[in-house]
Symmetry: C2
Subunit: 403 residues, 2 copies
C-alpha cells in the first residue's frame, strides 16, 4: 500500500480541502492519504472552531484514511518548526510522499528554490537579520531577504502564504534527510486569507469561520462544505453549546496576565523584548480580546506573532518546556482511521521509529503533557460547565475515531 501525506488544519474541512484530497490521490497515485492535523490550537495562535475529534471525523468522512495529531509544540509555531514536526511525522509513519497546495503549483521550481537557498544560506541569513534590525517583522524580513537574493532568477514567490509553507516542507524534508517525494498542486480559487466568498463552491476557511461567527446558528455556508462537515458543525453546536474562538478565553487570559508577575510572563515561550510590560498595561484597559489585541499591536509584531505569544501564555507553556520538544517529534498520536487506514497502520507498525499512541493512558505522560494541557484548557472555551467537563475528559476517554 502506497501512502502519501498532507499537512492540514481542517478548520473546518471544506470543498477546497476535498478538491486538494482528490488531486493528491491523482498526482501521487497513492492508495492511502495520511493527514497530519493540528490539535485544538492552530498555527496562527488561535483555537480551532471545534475539537480535534470533530475535525478528525470530518476528515475521515471526506475520504482521508488516517489522521494523526501535529503536537502543540509544532502546530502553534512559525513555518520552520511547524514543517519540521509535520514532515518528520509523515516520514515516521511510513509515507512515500507528501503533497501540498501552493500558489506556484510547480514542484521543480520548489526543488530549485530550496537548493538555491541552501547554497546561499549565509547571505540569506545576513539579509534576514538586517531587515529585522530595521524593524521588519520576521515573515516580512524573510520574504524581503528572499526577493533581494533571487532578483532575476526564476524561483517561487515567497510572499504567497502557501508557497512559504511548501518551501519549508521541502526544506524540512532535506534537513531530516527524508526520502519523501514531494508533490504540489495549484491552489484553487480562494486565497488563504480571503474573508469573502468569491466562488459558488470554494471558499477559504477564514471566510467560512467569519460567516459562522457573524450569524451563529444560521449558517449560510452549506454550499462551501461537504454535507458531512455541515453535520459535524451542527452536531458540535448541539452537543457543546457553541464554537471556540479567542473571545471565549478572554476572561482566563485576562486573569493569567493580571495574576502573573512580569518575571513569570518572561518565562513563557516567545515572550521577549519587554512585551510583557505592554501586555500587563493593555490588559487593564481592555474589555475584549479584540480590543486588547488592537491596543497591543505595533508595527514590530505581526498579529499572528502576538496571538502565538498569548496562546503560550494561555497554556502556560514555558521556554524551558519547549526547548527540548520542538527539535523533533517523539510520538505519533493517532486521532482516527478508516478500514484502509487501519490496514496500512497494521502493515507499517513494526517499522515505525516512534511510538504510535492510540490510548493516552498508555503513553509517556511527560512527553504528551503539553498536548493534554492544551486540550484541557481548550475545554474552558465552552460556557456550559457540563459540556466543558465532557470535552475535557474526551482527551482521556476518546479512542481513535473509526469509520
Amino acid at each position: 500500500m502506497k501512502a502519501t501525506g498532507v499537512v492540514v488544519e481542517y478548520n473546518p474541512f471544506h470543498n477546497g480541502h476535498l478538491h486538494h484530497l482528490r488531486e493528491t490521490r491523482n498526482a501521487t497515485g497513492a492508495d492511502i492519504v495520511v493527514a497530519v492535523m493540528s490539535g485544538h490550537f492552530l498555527q496562527r495562535g488561535e483555537p480551532a472552531l471545534v475539537s480535534k475529534w470533530s475535525r478528525t471525523r470530518m476528515a475521515l468522512e471526506a475520504g482521508v484514511d488516517v489522521v494523526i495529531e501535529l503536537p502543540y509544540c509544532f502546530a502553534t509555531q512559525h513555518a520552520e518548526i511547524f514543517s519540521r514536526g509535520a514532515i518528520s511525522l509523515l516520514d515516521s509513519i511510513g509515507c512515500e510522499s507528501f503533497c501540498f497546495g501552493s500558489e506556484d503549483g510547480d514542484i521543480d521550481t520548489f526543488e530549485k528554490t530550496v537548493v538555491f537557498i541552501e547554497a546561499n544560506r549565509e547571505r540569506y541569513n545576513t539579509y534576514i537579520s538586517g531587515f529585522i534590525r530595521e524593524g521588519m517583522s520576521y515573515p516580512s524580513a524573510l520574504a524581503k531577504a528572499f526577493q533581494t537574493l533571487v532578483s532575476g532568477d526564476s524561483v517561487i514567490d515567497l510572499s504567497k502564504p502557501n508557497n512559504i509553507l511548501g518551501f519549508h516542507y521541502m526544506e524540512a524534508r532535506n534537513q531530516i534527510h527524508s526520502s519523501l517525494k514531494a508533490y504540489t498542486i495549484t491552489r484553487e480559487a480562494a486565497g488563504y486569507h480571503d474573508q469573502h466568498f468569491s466562488s459558488p463552491s470554494i471558499a477559504s476557511a477564514t471566510s467560512i469561520r467569519k460567516n459562522i461567527f457573524s450569524s451563529e446558528g444560521d449558517h449560510k455556508i452549506d454550499s462551501y462544505l461537504p454535507s458531512t462537515s455541515v453535520d459535524q458543525l451542527t452536531q458540535y453546536q448541539l452537543e457543546y453549546g457553541g464554537f471556540h474562538r479567542w473571545e471565549n478565553y478572554w476572561t482566563v487570559l485576562q486573569y493569567k496576565l493580571l495574576s502573573s508577575s512580569k518575571e513569570e510572563l518572561k518565562e513563557i515561550y516567545e515572550v521577549e523584548e519587554g512585551i510583557e510590560n505592554r501586555m500587563k498595561e493593555c490588559v487593564k484597559t481592555s474589555t475584549s480580546f479584540e480590543e486588547f489585541m488592537t491596543k497591543l499591536k505595533t508595527k514590530r509584531y505581526t498579529w499572528t506573532r502576538l496571538q502565538r505569544m498569548l496562546l503560550h501564555i494561555l497554556t502556560n507553556t514555558r521556554k524551558e518546556e519547549m526547548r527540548h520538544r520542538h527539535a523533533s517529534a517523539s510520538y505519533i498520536r493517532l486521532l482516527g482511521m478508516n478500514k484502509m487506514g487501519r490496514e496500512f497502520l497494521h502493515s507499517k507498525k513494526k517499522e515505525m521509529p516512534l511510538p504510535l499512541i492510540s490510548k493516552l493512558s498508555s503513553a509517556n505522560q511527560s512527553e504528551i503533557e503539553l498536548d493534554v494541557r492544551a486540550a484541557e484548557i481548550f475545554s474552558l472555551g465552552l460556557k456550559n460547565a457540563a459540556a466543558r467537563k465532557k470535552l475535557l475528559h474526551q482527551e482521556w476517554s476518546q479512542p481513535p475515531v473509526m469509520i
Copy 2:
C-alpha cells in the same frame, strides 16, 4: 482626641455591627472609632460580597470615623497572623485602646487566660502538635489543647469563635509590646456562623449573605441592616451587576489549577502535603466551586483552610512572597474617613511609625503589590466586562472615601 480600634470585615455592615459600635463608644469613652477592615478577600478565604470601597462607605455612614485596610497578607490568615496585623495597625495609627465582641464578655478573664497560656506555652504547644499528629485540624487541636491545659481553672471558652479571635488580639498586643488597652463587649443574639434569622433586628452576616444569594434581587434583609447598608448593596448591584462569591471565580480557578504544574502549585502559600495532586484530580471532574470543594474536603482539612489555599492559588500568592510580609504591617492604607476622622489623622500623622497611604500611586509599589493584585483579580468576579474594568481601576483611581 481619644481613639479606639475595632477589627472588622463588615460583609455587610449590619445591625449587630451598629450595636457593637455604640457599645464600643460607651465602654471606651473614645471620641474616634478606627476600623481596621479586611480588603476584598476575607479570613475564611472568600471574596467579600461587595468591594472594600462600598463596605467602607457603609461603615462611615454608620458612624465609624476612620477605615483602614487590613492587607491581604493578614486578612486571609488564621487568627494568629490576622490578629498580629490588625492590632499592630491600630497601635501604629495612634489608638489608645481596642474593643472586640466576644461570647465571654469579661476582659479580666481574657487577660488571665493570656497570662496563663504564656506561662504554660511549652506544654500548650506540645499538646497542639500531639493532637495534630492524631489527625485533628489546627483549630480543633488548639481548642482541645487549651481545654486539656486549663481543666478546672476559670478561663475563657476557646471553642467559641469570637473568644478565639479576642484571645489572639490580646496575645498579639502582648507580643508586639503595645500599650493598647483592651475592652470586650458581649456579643448579642446571633452566633457567628448562624445561617438562620433568630431575632427581629440582629442577624449574623452569614445568614444575611445566605439570604441575599438565595433570592438575588429580592432581599428580605432590610430589618437586619441599617438603611445606609441596604442602599449601598442596592447601589452596588445596579452599578456592578451583582455580588461577589466563590462561584463567580470558578472558571478562573479551574483554569489556574489545570494550567499550573504541580511544582508551580507547591510554590503557592499554604499548599502543602501533596494536596496539589488531589486538587488537580478533583478539578477535572467538577462543574462548580461547591462540587469541587465537596470532593476536595477530607477530615484533615477544614473548609476554611481549603478555601484559604484556593484563594492563594487564585491570587497566585507564593510562599516566597508571603515570607517577609506577614511578620508585621509596613504601611497603613486609608480607605475612608469622616470629618472627625480627618482631624484625628491630621493630629496623629507625624507620630505614625508607618507610611499612611491615601494615594496608591505614591506608595511603595512592591509593598502594596499583593493588595493590588488581589483587587484586580477580585474584579474578575463581575460578569460584565465594562463593570469589571471600572472596578479594576477603582483600586488606582479611588481616593479615600469622605463623608
